[in-house]
């Protein structure tokens, strides 16, 4: 099954870190990504630019799409990146999530990807 590990963290935390700390942080993510790849479960991953770069499109007045500056929700912790992995079950996904460096400075949400087989099954 495919799972998305979504990383939520406070963006301010990164800028407050010293150069060495930032380097260590990056190295931890690099090592984690390598481990996922070696285990053959890695399907994709990306780090996102801070919410300063976010633009939101939603349904505005009179049904026209409205473009807004900023993220979907102005919360303290923001989506900062993701990993897409393919593992046997939730336990395997949770075990990978618990190794993610993000757990040290934020939160990882684990969500199964909607598969074609499932989409055919009525709820």
């Amino acid at each position: 099954m495919e799972y998305m590990l979504m990383i939520y963290a406070e963006e301010g935390g990164w800028t407050k870190m010293s150069k060495t700390e930032q380097e260590q942080g990056m190295a931890a993510y690099t090592a984690y990504t390598e481990a996922l790849k070696k285990a053959g479960v890695w399907k994709g991953s990306n780090r996102l630019q801070p919410i300063g770069a976010a633009t939101t499109v939603r349904n505005g007045a009179n049904g026209k799409p409205q473009v807004l500056d900023g993220p979907f929700a102005d919360t303290k912790e923001q989506l900062g990146g993701y990993y897409l992995i393919d593992v046997a079950d939730l336990d395997a996904a949770l075990s990978w999530a618990s190794r993610c460096p993000a757990v040290g400075h934020g939160t990882v949400e684990v969500r199964p990807v909607w598969s074609i087989a499932r989409s055919a099954t009525p709820a």
């Binding site: 099954m1 799972y3 046997a88 079950d89 939730l90 336990d91 996904a93 949770l94 199964p112 598969s115 074609i116 087989a117 499932r118 055919a120 099954t121 009525p122 709820a123």
Partner: protein
């Protein structure tokens, strides 16, 4: 035409197959797809077929195998009706493969434990784990479960459906967790079984059939866990604790339904066979060298029984057991019992001081045993007015009429 005797025989064969193997069949049917609801539906259709087929054609030699084959066919039919995608074909192939396997080997692999671990998975809301196990492992319906847990059948039904969807959609495995994870995960399973048992136990006169059944069913579950994991000390401890409690069921009420505290119970009404089994289990557990909450609670029951039987006060030992239990559980409820035991050793004032400390936990303000304990200790110190008041609150908070009458009686004897 089947005569009524054949119908009766078929019904009883189906019932005993259900009793023995319901959870086994659900676990086996749902193991690959993780679709518990679909497995339950297919199985209930298979049981319905059995009731119409067996009276006419005779009961099969292997009822479980018969039910499994029919249920599997129903499941495949249901899936065909629902799914048109290529992926569905793949799933069907996997299912059919399993069906052949099942027919070849009549001995079903027992995956009930894996199913229980799925139901008590940390990804499942804690409050629904216990009802979920009762439903999918034992086949109890939402109505019976709702009545035991004092909620509406509709609400219980919805929560059960949601939990089964979570198992399927999130990909929760039917598996015994790895060694490192096992103690915590097993604890959740045991916790869920004990919660169901406690619900059944809160009606000791067993006037409510649903509740009486619950005690028997949960004992069956606890026994099952000890059979499948014979070297887990806490599983043995839980079964011992439950047997100790169950052994005194009939002594806890008079014929008139009045509540009888442990110190006044008639020991000849205790089930000595169950007590013997419980003691044996505790001994076996202690040899495994992994102390835990359920073993400690079992040991406390054992200490109470021993005291009554020998007449020799063992309150110091009881306080020590509560100390250990408090260290593991940190529960204020344990603290209340510890305070009562301490009062037996050091006098009521010492017990009251403990209770005062506990009162910092605001939840206890609405907890009957806290006020009953307070009332009892206050009575012993002669603070009649304060005791009357504490009894009043305890009575107001109690939901069992027999215990309410007991407290009222205590309150009025004290005044005289």
């Amino acid at each position: 035409m089947a005569d009524s005797e054949n119908v009766e025989r078929a019904r009883s064969a189906a019932e005993s197959a259900a009793r023995r193997s319901y959870g086994k069949l659900v676990a086996f049917l749902a193991a690959r797809t993780r679709d518990v609801a679909a497995a339950e539906d297919a199985l209930s259709e298979a049981f319905a077929s059995a009731l119409s087929d067996w009276p006419a054609n005779g009961c099969p030699a292997n009822p479980e195998g018969w039910l499994l084959t029919v249920a599997r066919r129903k499941m495949i039919d249901a899936m065909r009706g629902r799914q048109r995608h290529e992926v569905a074909a793949e799933e069907l192939r996997v299912m059919a493969e399993g069906a052949e396997l099942a027919e070849m080997d009549t001995r079903l692999p027992d995956q009930r434990l894996g199913l229980m671990f799925a139901c008590a998975h940390p990804a499942i809301e804690a409050g629904i784990r216990s009802p979920l196990i009762l439903q999918v492992v034992l086949g109890l319906d939402a109505k019976a479960i709702a009545s035991a847990f004092l909620t509406s059948p509709a609400a219980m039904g919805k929560r059960l459906v949601r939990a089964k969807e979570k198992i399927r959609e999130a990909g929760i495995p039917f598996a015994i967790p790895e060694r490192a994870e096992l103690p915590a995960r097993l604890d959740a399973v045991l916790e869920a079984i004990y919660a169901a048992f406690a619900e059944g136990w809160s009606d000791p006169s067993a006037t409510d059939i649903a509740r009486r059944d619950l005690t028997e069913e949960t004992l069956f579950l606890a026994r099952l866990v000890t059979e499948l994991l014979p070297n887990e000390a806490e599983a043995l401890g839980l079964l011992a604790l439950m047997l100790h409690a169950e052994a005194r069921r009939f002594a806890r009420r008079t014929c008139a339904g009045e509540y009888v505290p442990l110190s006044k119970q008639e020991m000849r009404l205790w089930d000595s066979e169950m007590i013997r089994e419980a003691e044996g289990l505790l001994l076996r557990a202690s040899e495994l060298g992994a102390m835990g909450r359920f073993q400690l609670e079992g040991a406390l029951q054992s200490a109470h029984v021993h005291r009554r039987r020998t007449g020799a006060p063992n309150w110091r030992e009881v306080v020590q057991l509560y100390d250990a239990l408090l260290a593991v559980s940190g529960s204020p409820v344990v603290g209340i019992n510890r305070a009562l035991a301490l009062a037996e050793v050091e006098g009521p004032c010492a017990g009251l001081r403990e209770l005062d400390d506990l009162a910092k936990d605001a939840r206890l303000g609405e907890y009957q045993p806290y006020w009953a304990a307070r009332a009892e200790l206050l009575t012993k110190t002669g603070a009649i007015e304060a005791a009357t008041e504490a009894y009043e609150i305890a009575i107001g908070l109690e939901r069992d009429p027999a215990v309410r009458r007991f407290l009222q009686q205590r309150q009025s004897t004290m005044k005289r």
